[in-house]
C-alpha cells in the first residue's frame, strides 16, 4: 500500500467512465481529490454520493460527470447546489442522468456493497414517489413475517475516495468524528483511495476506533487541509463562510467557470490552489 501524491493516485486509479464515490457527510469531504480529478480532466464519471454538495457542484459544473446517484443535493443550510441544478434542469455543461434515493436507502445500498450482498433492505420509501422515478428501488417479501420491505441494489463503486485524519507509514487509516457512510463506501469499493491530514509513525488508535487497515486501502496521499472548506475534526473547523460565499460564486456559469479555471485548472496541485486563493485574499 504505497503513500503517493494525490496527482499520482488519481492518474493511476481514476479512469474516464468510472463509477466514483467521494464520501464524507459534511465532515472530511475529499475536496482536494475532487479538484485533482477536475484538474486531470476526467470525463463521463458516474458520481455517487449521499449529499452531493459543493464537491460535486464543482465536478459536475466542470464537466466531469454524466450520471449522479444521490439522496440530497444542495448547499447545506444555504440553498441550491447551482451547478448540479443547472445540469439537471438544462443539461449544462452536459446532461446528467440521476438515480435518486433517500438517505436510508443510500446507507442500505452502501452497507450491502460493503458486505458484497446483492441488495440492501429497509422499511423505507413508504408512500413516496421516489420508487416511481427510480426503477432500482424495488421490494421483497420477508420469508418470516410476510412483510413487504423496500430493496435497493448494492452500491459497489469502481473507486471510493475518502479524506481522514491520519495514516501510518504502512497505510492504516484512522477516522474520527462524524463518519457518514465512509467506512461502508470504502469497503464497498473495488479501489479505495484516501487523503489524510498527516502521516504518522504510530496511529495510536483507541480500541473500537474506525480504522481502515492498509490491506483494504489502495493508495494514501498526504494532503493537509484537503477537506477544506469542509472540516477535519482536530485540525480545522468547517468554513461556513465559504459555503455561504459559494452561493454567489456558483450561481452564474461564467463566474463559476472562471473560478474553476483560475483556482483549479491553472494551479498545479492543492497547495497551489490554496496559495492562489490566499494571494487573492480569499484563502483560508
Amino acid at each position: 500500500m504505497p503513500i503517493v501524491t494525490l496527482a499520482e493516485a488519481v492518474a493511476s486509479h481514476v479512469r474516464d467512465g468510472d463509477s466514483l464515490a467521494l464520501e464524507g457527510f459534511t465532515h472530511l469531504i475529499p475536496f482536494a481529490a475532487g479538484q485533482e480529478i477536475i484538474r486531470q480532466r476526467r470525463r463521463d464519471l458516474h458520481l455517487i454520493r449521499m449529499t452531493p454538495d459543493l464537491v460535486y457542484d464543482q465536478m459536475i459544473g466542470a464537466g466531469c460527470a454524466n450520471r449522479l446517484t444521490f439522496s440530497w443535493g444542495g448547499n447545506p443550510g444555504v440553498g441550491s447546489a447551482h451547478r448540479i441544478r443547472e445540469a439537471i434542469e438544462s443539461g449544462w455543461p452536459q446532461p446528467l442522468a440521476i438515480s435518486e434515493h433517500s438517505h436510508a436507502g443510500m446507507a442500505a445500498a452502501y452497507t450491502a456493497g460493503a458486505a458484497r450482498l446483492p441488495f440492501g433492505m429497509l422499511r423505507g420509501y413508504l408512500g413516496t414517489d421516489l420508487a416511481d422515478v427510480n426503477p432500482a428501488v424495488r421490494g421483497v417479501i420477508c420469508p418470516y413475517t410476510g412483510e413487504r420491505l423496500a430493496t435497493v441494489p448494492a452500491l459497489n463503486p469502481d473507486v471510493t475516495i475518502l479524506h481522514a485524519q491520519k495514516a501510518d507509514r504502512a497505510g492504516n487509516v484512522l477516522i474520527s468524528g462524524i463518519l457518514g457512510a465512509q467506512k461502508e463506501a470504502g469497503l464497498a469499493a473495488r479501489k479505495l483511495l484516501v487523503t489524510v491530514e498527516e502521516v504518522v509513525d504510530h496511529l495510536d488508535a483507541p480500541m473500537n476506533a474506525v480504522v481502515l487497515p492498509h490491506w483494504v486501502v489502495t493508495a494514501v496521499a498526504c494532503v493537509p487541509g484537503g477537506a477544506w472548506p469542509s472540516y477535519a475534526r482536530g485540525y480545522y473547523p468547517r468554513d461556513n463562510a465559504f459555503y455561504i460565499a459559494w452561493d454567489e460564486i456558483s450561481r452564474d456559469r461564467g463566474r463559476f467557470t472562471d473560478w474553476i479555471a483560475r483556482y483549479v485548472l491553472e494551479t498545479p496541485d492543492f497547495n497551489g490552489f490554496l496559495a492562489r486563493l490566499r494571494a487573492d485574499g480569499v484563502g483560508p
Binding site: G74, G77, G124, L126, G127
Partner: protein, 267 residues
C-alpha cells in the same frame, strides 16, 4: 397577511420557531432537520426542555450545541453529543427501530393530507426548479411516532396537488397511511406563519386549529391552495414572551458570529 395597526415586535420566523419549540416536551427524543426545526428544538432545550434528546442525521445523538449548525454535520454537533454513530446506524438502529418521538421537518410544498415535497417543482424529468431532494425525510416521516412540519403558508407552498411526493403524510387520507404499513402516526402539526394546522379525525385532512392573534383565519384560508377547513373553536396562540425572544435572539446572534468567523488552515 392582515397588517395590524402596529407590526408586532417579532418576525414571522420567530413566532413560528417559538410555537414549534413549545410543542416539544422535556425528555422527548427529537430527530431534527436543519434550519427552523433546529432552531426550535434548541430553543426548547434552552427553555423548558433541558433533557430533550436531539438527534441529527449526521449521527450525533443527544447533542447540545451552543450555536446552531449551518449544516447537518457541523463539528459543534459532534463535540457536544452524547455519542456519534455511523450514518447507516442512525437510520437503521435509531430511526427505523422506532426510537424517535418527534421528527421535525421542513418542505417546499405540502398538500391537504400533509404529504411533503422537497424534490422538484414541475415535472420530475423536466423540472422547473430542481430542489435538493428528500434526504432523510421519507423515513423520518414514516417512522417517527409523530411528525411536526414547519413551513410558511402561501398558495404556492400549500397546494392542491404536489408536484412530487418526497415524504408520505396521510397519503389520500381516511386511513390510507395506516394501511400503507407506515409505523409512525404521521404529521400531527403543521406550524405556519398563520398558526397551526392539524389532521382532522377520520378524514385526516388538515384543518387550521390555532392562529396567531395578529392574523385572521380568513387570511390563512386565502394563503392556502385548497379550501382550508377551519376548526369551530380556534385557539389563539400566545405571543412570544420576552424570555423566549431573548433566548432565541441570543442563540441566533451567537450562531451568526460563529458562522462569520474566518477559518485558518494550519497548513
Amino acid at each position: 397577511m392582515t397588517t395590524p395597526a402596529t407590526a408586532p415586535p417579532w418576525t414571522a420566523d420567530e413566532m413560528m420557531t417559538v410555537t414549534a419549540a413549545r410543542m416539544l416536551w422535556n425528555g422527548c427524543v427529537c430527530f431534527v432537520g436543519i434550519g427552523l426545526p433546529s432552531a426550535a428544538a434548541n430553543l426548547a432545550r434552552l427553555l423548558h426542555a433541558p433533557d430533550i434528546v436531539l438527534i441529527y442525521e449526521s449521527g450525533t445523538i443527544g447533542t447540545r450545541p451552543d450555536v446552531l449548525p449551518l449544516s447537518i454535520g457541523d463539528g459543534e454537533l459532534a463535540e457536544t453529543a452524547g455519542t456519534v454513530v455511523p450514518l447507516p446506524e442512525i437510520f437503521a438502529y435509531w430511526l427505523q427501530s422506532g426510537r424517535i418521538d418527534v421528527g421535525f421537518l421542513g418542505a417546499a410544498q405540502v398538500d391537504r393530507f400533509a404529504n411533503l415535497n422537497s424534490t422538484v417543482i414541475g415535472p420530475y424529468d423536466r423540472p422547473k426548479v430542481r430542489l435538493p431532494g428528500a434526504g432523510g425525510a421519507p423515513e423520518i416521516a414514516a417512522h417517527a411516532r409523530q411528525v411536526f412540519v414547519v413551513l410558511k403558508q402561501s398558495a404556492r407552498s400549500f397546494v392542491p396537488k404536489l408536484d412530487f411526493v418526497s415524504s408520505g403524510g396521510f397519503l389520500t387520507g381516511g386511513g390510507a397511511r395506516r394501511r400503507s404499513g407506515a409505523p409512525g402516526s404521521g404529521p400531527q402539526a403543521i406550524i405556519t406563519d398563520y398558526g397551526v394546522l392539524k389532521p382532522q379525525p377520520d378524514s385526516e385532512e388538515l384543518a387550521l386549529v390555532a392562529r396567531y392573534e395578529t392574523v385572521a383565519a380568513a387570511d390563512a384560508v386565502k394563503a392556502t391552495g385548497w379550501p382550508l377547513a377551519v376548526a369551530e373553536e380556534l385557539e389563539i396562540i400566545a405571543p412570544p414572551t420576552a424570555a423566549e425572544l431573548e433566548v432565541l435572539r441570543a442563540l441566533h446572534a451567537r450562531t451568526h458570529t460563529a458562522h462569520s468567523r474566518p477559518v485558518k488552515l494550519p497548513v
